[in-house]
Symmetry: C3
Subunit: 207 residues, 3 copies
């Protein structure tokens, strides 16, 4: 089971790295920039969580595989685009939703292991899930997408709350984990399919 979760985690890293590499390509970055943005997108959220928690050493320092997977995914993206293969945007959205589910649940679990209060554990889940993407957008000089587009972070929050709730019940831990991952995944897919979004807060700039 742990093995499976580790593989899912690496899959999430690869997918997030791909979205980072694509964004870097939109900004015409060089290969080093592509690599950096991909790695930050994939591992930035977890690193921010660990740094705030004081949880050292962070995951990718303990285990080189994370950096390796993110780098290979980035280089693979560049090769793929150079070969003028089309990017399956819908497939990427699905994969991204899966990565989000894994990262969120993992971040929440780690927070609970650190004996954090439920509210803070949810925040750690959200940071793990969306932190890397927000960093990617900031470095690429964009207002972070997830603060503007269809429902994304709400899926994290729901999955994180569900994980905390299910853990209180006497369920086997694999069920708690997969159940709450499924919640993130389904909410996100529903949001994509029906283009659900949160109400916006418009304020005219008076400066």
């Amino acid at each position: 089971m742990d093995q499976l979760f580790y593989l899912a985690d690496l899959f999430g890293v690869a997918v997030f790295a791909i979205t980072g590499a694509l964004m870097a390509g939109r900004k015409s970055m060089d290969l080093f920039g592509v690599l950096v943005i991909a790695i930050i997108t994939a591992l930035g959220g977890g690193t921010l969580r660990d740094v705030i928690l004081g949880n050292h050493p962070v995951a990718w320092i303990k285990d080189d595989t994370y950096i390796l997977v993110a780098s290979l995914a980035a280089l693979g993206t560049v090769v793929w685009v150079r070969l003028t293969r089309p990017i399956n945007e819908y497939g990427l959205l699905l994969a991204d939703a899966f990565g989000l589910a894994v990262f969120t649940v993992y971040g929440t679990e780690l927070a609970l292991q650190h004996n954090l209060q439920p509210g803070t554990a949810v925040i750690m889940g959200v940071i793990t899930g969306v932190g890397g993407g927000v960093m990617r957008d900031i470095i690429c000089n964009e207002v972070p997408l997830i603060f503007q587009k269809e429902i994304y972070a709400i899926a994290c929050i729901a999955g994180s709350l569900m994980f905390i709730g299910l853990r209180e019940v006497a369920l086997p831990s694999w069920l708690v984990t997969t159940g709450s991952m499924l919640a993130v995944l389904l909410i996100r897919l529903a949001a994509i399919h029906w283009r659900l979004s949160l109400p916006r807060f418009h304020l005219l700039d008076r400066e």
Copy 2:
């Protein structure tokens, strides 16, 4: 006295969260974005200070009240604006100056408790006071306001230095605290009133 200081701290959190929510509104963010920007504006400076100091766990992890107050202030701002109530910009500036005073003095005090040298303690005071606002501006894709507008950080530096100086004298600690907060507040109010600003450094872009 500690109780009073805690309340002042929470007041600062609420005020900073309101400025964050307003900025998010100017960027037409959704409700989640408003919440995140408000929380980061309110708690980002203190978190950055704690992470640099290695001071774990950070304040809002120990005590859920901080996140709660910031969230409520953000939601309150959205409701207020939706009801088309006017925003009292001047009142907000006053409240912000008060929050700045509290955060700066608290950051300096914490640094001295960690036995930092005076120069570094001032920097920690400044980080605590202005860090959240700088993060807000970076995420919202603006060049940070406090590097361009009227005197702001100078008020922090002065208050922080005053705190360090008064502590050396044999004064009761409540007087040291309130005296240096008052210094921040008065300098900031004078800067707003007379539109005082630091000289600018203009350099033509030759690229």
Copy 3:
């Protein structure tokens, strides 16, 4: 030897602070902004490395000299420009290459002292070398230069790898250090001279 390395480190701090102050000037920041951007450019990379490693207290907290040197370099830059003295861009590039060499090797060495794996040690070298400049660009609302312009980070990576490699051989440590610094310096100078750059990854924005 240690003394010499410390002086080289301070020289790197001063040079990076100057590039920060110049960028702040291009953004018409006030004096406080100039100071902050200069300090972040000079010390941001090392601070990020230490925070990720959990290596507390960070260098500039232990030793006030770093902040002092960065501040003086920033103020000196402002005075120099105000006196309408020309900026020797080429000299600045050379000095920057030297600073990059020192920071990279120091970051790698520190990582190895923390028993990091070679791959991660290289990343720490790169973070130390380029982190401050990236932060400068993000705060000043620019897409980081080093992800777009001629070879820069590759020089870091090469120097870092060389340091790790030479350390395995039975060479005196001063030779390992200066040899790998020289590698960074020469690659960077060659890149500037022949305008070498990495291939770019262009992707049309379909949004």
